[in-house]
Symmetry: C2
């Protein structure tokens, strides 16, 4: 049983496994794509390596299918649930970073109107995507994802306003 550091990636995997029960890396990939991936993307390779890492430290168990593709199946353990709970119930005061590539260019002298013109359609598309997800969301989706989606929507609106100002 090795020690591993738990990163945001770890908690995403744990959170999804808690929600889904037993799951393959590919299944995780599918889930990420339609959920948390909207504001925190992962590469599919991480969904193969991360569960393996977590298994080494006892946060998840690994089984393999008999016959066929012998796909790996992961499931969260009590230890994993505990870690997830601890993380979840420790409210963080740490802030993310803006880290917008477009802002970086602006910062170093790019033409604001040109950047704005390129950014606007992208942000509008993203906003439309979020709104579509929200409007098609089944009743049983829990509050967390709903709120996160709402944050995404507000964020996109903010950026759209900001770039509109600069587009001239």
């Amino acid at each position: 049983m090795q020690e591993v550091r738990l990163t945001p990636t770890s908690y995403i995997v744990l959170g999804l496994l808690e929600f889904a029960g037993e799951c393959t890396p590919y299944g995780l990939k599918q889930m990420v794509a339609v959920s948390v991936g909207n504001f925190w993307t992962l590469h599919h390779a991480q969904l193969y390596t991360e569960p393996e890492r977590l298994a080494k430290a006892g946060y998840v168990t690994e089984k393999r299918e008999r016959g066929g593709r012998r796909r790996r199946l992961y499931e969260i353990t009590a230890t994993g649930r505990k870690a997830l709970d601890d993380w979840r119930s420790e409210p963080t005061s740490s802030l993310g970073e803006l880290r917008e590539p477009a802002l970086l260019k602006l910062f170093f002298g790019a033409d604001p109107a040109a950047v704005a013109t390129a950014q606007l359609p992208a942000h509008r598309a993203k906003l439309a995507e979020y709104e579509a997800i929200r409007d098609g969301m089944p009743e049983n989706v829990p509050r967390g994802p709903r709120i996160a989606l709402e944050a995404g929507i507000l964020n996109e609106r903010g950026f759209i306003e900001f770039w509109e100002e600069l587009a001239g």
Copy 2:
């Protein structure tokens, strides 16, 4: 002369060297701290390794002081300027990601009011910091940093509104 991939970190170093002329890694660190570091942080070690990487590919030159600490001095080359210009004049439509640790917790079921309560002071402090920078900004600061700062301020205001809603 090796090939290296140019990352955002690379452009930050190039951009700062363009602005500052000859500079040591420590000097870069100082500049980052009061400028771009407000929305895109770097670890100080990167400011030692990144210029070295860039030197290998001819984007910057490296000299060493005679005597004393023999500190390294970097300077952007014509190749470096070209790369920076190309990057700057290619308006990107790619979007950053929210990647807020607090949102991630919310997504996976943390208590919204508790998270909001922890996030609010942090965002308010950050906003105050930004506003102080803006109000103390000398006249000669170029437009790019000004706009980026403005984006940061709007962003913080957005988050404050969002978390206030949830704090109850």
